[in-house]
Symmetry: C2
Subunit: 339 residues, 2 copies
Amino acid sequence: MPKNKRGKQSFVLPEMPVITAWASIAGKKEGEGPLAHTFDIVSNDTYFGQKTWEQAEKQMQKMAMDTVIEKAGLQKNQIGLVYSGDLLNQCIGSSFTLRNTGIPHLGLYGACSTMAEGLLSASMAVSGGFADRVIALTSSHFASSERQYRFPLGYGGQRTPTAQWTVTGAGAALLCTAGTGPRIDCCTIGTVTDLGIKDANNMGASMAPAAYATIKAHLEDMKRSVEDFDLIITGDLGQLGKELLMELARRDGIYLGGRIADCGTLVFDTAKQDVHSGGSGCGCSAITLCGELLGKLNSGKLRHILFCGTGALLSPTSIQQGLPTPGVCHAVSIIGGSD
Amino acid sequence: MPKNKRGKQSFVLPEMPVITAWASIAGKKEGEGPLAHTFDIVSNDTYFGQKTWEQAEKQMQKMAMDTVIEKAGLQKNQIGLVYSGDLLNQCIGSSFTLRNTGIPHLGLYGACSTMAEGLLSASMAVSGGFADRVIALTSSHFASSERQYRFPLGYGGQRTPTAQWTVTGAGAALLCTAGTGPRIDCCTIGTVTDLGIKDANNMGASMAPAAYATIKAHLEDMKRSVEDFDLIITGDLGQLGKELLMELARRDGIYLGGRIADCGTLVFDTAKQDVHSGGSGCGCSAITLCGELLGKLNSGKLRHILFCGTGALLSPTSIQQGLPTPGVCHAVSIIGGSD
């Protein structure tokens, strides 16, 4: 067994990376939601000053990256590595953010689990002594996602009750070998889980089995129980996916009860903001983490959370070919810091 | 400076991961090329027994993964982690290969640099003690790439002289903490480099500046010279991109001369196989590495190579929006093993 590996899917970080700074950029609708006060920048311009929604997404990532570097009191050339990815085909939000910055970059594809995958990957790089000052970065945009994954917005298609609303936003977290802030003590790498869900408008059902598999693996690998956490928080299962997750756990005798929450139901007021099952997209868990969650961990209002980034590996091509949508979930255990 | 970091973009691996097994799966045209004898499996069926080209790509990755596991004498449940990605939107070649295998998976997006990005990421995971028996896996398919990035094949569009031919193939390499085989001693993480190339049919020109930037960074960070390597081998610059790389180096007084080679010009007989500037795609460097190169490193015919995975971050969306194609290149330094 490798020295830092635990169980089947988890690893510990003997030198715990410290999240010394974080930043979140949000769109208009997100800025009207319950977490509005936690975002660094809210823009009422859907295009973020750009000509296209795809370039708007690049701009949000750039703003998140620039803001986190500024908040840490650093310069761009002091950043050792950026892990990033997004929902756009070929991850062009990420590649155009990083181009000609001179910052070493490793591209990820984890759909909406990207923020957790980035934190997990950055944790290995920092704790292993391979890089310092590593940023995990991601974004999503309602308009660029709708036209790529579903319909042109002008078509005005009706949304199903199980549909989720892609968050317009970008989040960035900076991981360092030292400093003050919340710390990552261990992570669990997800497996691609598929129970055969073919409804492209029910991503919660695609992701819930993956979320449960990863949470279960984390508890087993790390010999922990639900009560060890103030909060087990999934990325973007939405209301329906959250209920499915709780049901899957209950069947195994695990009661998630008051400890479970989902970024997709926190980032919007699902009753008032017409988002149906809740928020989704890489930006959903990213802006909830890089504002509300890290803020509360830093101030001591939260002591220990399991941040479970969930991704529906949704593809219009495979859907059109009659295939289901597999899900994935990566978990990052974060301990509250002190100022 | 983190303990294993060197210079601006590189890191060393104090406990060198050993590449104990590798496997390559190739299509018909690749099986008619000069490296035919190095592939584990060559299929004359473009569909690899599947109904669609996208599923064929999944099937190739599955065959590469299964073959490398079998060659290593292992079972699936002994694999600690798979890093993989591909060129299909949402990387469905990778996600459908991994689904319901129970193997921990981290998805990458590095376009045609994916094999190098996977080796580099796996090196950190193995050397840092976070996982053991880690596979780096990727694929590409001529037919699925053509219709996604360019034209429907039935359209019969003429190819420009600078165009490259996407390799149909998949490669897998298994990295372990111990065993016999070639070893990875250090890696250099690339930066996204863009000199404004807007011709989507000239990917060599998009990638050459990134390749040069990474090779230069490796030599500087590691205090090495070109003569320290038997071979500096790029992923898929093709004939034109290789010439541009040599010219960029020459302007800085670096003579790559007889030490440079490109997988895109090795995998096909460019004079006879009508592939214009050479091979490309994630599969290009993957099947060249996981056959010819690792074979020669293992037998002592090569002592030390710098494997430079090159990626054109090509997107039909950004091309249509008038943007250039940035490039990226990650370098992995591999030392010959002994049987």
